[in-house]
Subunit: 161 residues, 2 copies
């Protein structure tokens, strides 16, 4: 399936990671591993739920170094849409578990991991938004820095697996 | 997969239809057929798009007998989530084509059709909402009457196929 990227409304990040797609996949789908990389330090993930099927819950709770968090903004509760092991993972915050609407929806993210050379991965994240305003908001929330830092953490962890 | 129905937030409709699941499936997925039953007469569907795959667009434009319509409220633009031929169809208005969020989301509907006796179908629609308030709003919009009437039209059409 092609990615339907639109420059006006969407954001993306691409990275070559020196670890296999299988290792990157594990980091994205095993809660114990997600806790190690999924938010920029010194924030940390205190809870992660990955019900690995289309329609399954995809949830992370994040907490700051001084106990910040426990608010809606620092949690991310979503629904998995596409689950192609070691290849492609799509989730959205517009739905909760079992495709139930949230009443709002900010983004849908597709993560792809393609074999790249000897044991490496071409890693890509594409984030779809409703419109240009939502894209702009995400950019101002620090998308490039936030996703950049966590992708560094993801790559470092994947290399150890 | 089980249906995650919750009495407080969801709505449902069940009907025995004297036509095969295959015929009912065609009515739900072929645009030319959808136009014949999908909204209560004398309103009519003037355009239908069914891109029959998970992530595909599911769109209907409706028009009243005096030209009412052509507004957002009378159109339904959504995204297919589950496509199991002649068995199960799930779509939501929280996403548009290719899982792009709409910025809002009112409902997710799952239609199931199970073989029932000789050439019949046990037809069920389950509508998930975000919360009890959204369910209440849908009920007051005339869910029972609207879906009841269109299901009559669906059953009558399916019998002719």
């Amino acid at each position: 399936m092609t990615l339907h990227f639109c420059q006006d409304t969407d954001l993306s990040l691409e990275r070559r990671i020196p670890a296999t797609p299988a290792a990157v996949w594990r980091c994205w789908t095993e809660p114990a591993l997600m806790k190690l990389w999924f938010c920029p330090k010194p924030w940390r993930v205190t809870e992660a739920v990955v019900d690995l099927r289309p329609g399954g819950r995809f949830f992370t709770r994040m907490q700051g170094p001084n106990g910040e968090g426990e608010t809606c903004d620092s949690n991310s509760d979503g629904c998995l849409l596409e689950v192609e092991p070691e290849r492609r993972l799509t989730f959205t915050d517009a739905l909760r578990a079992d495709y139930r609407p949230n009443g709002s929806g900010f983004m849908t993210a597709t993560i792809t991991m393609m074999p790249d050379g000897a044991g490496g991965t071409l890693y890509r994240a594409v984030i779809l938004h409703n419109d240009a305003a939502a894209r702009e908001k995400h950019e101002q929330m620090g998308f490039a820095t936030g996703w950049g830092l966590t992708t560094d953490q993801l790559a470092a962890l994947a290399e150890t697996l």
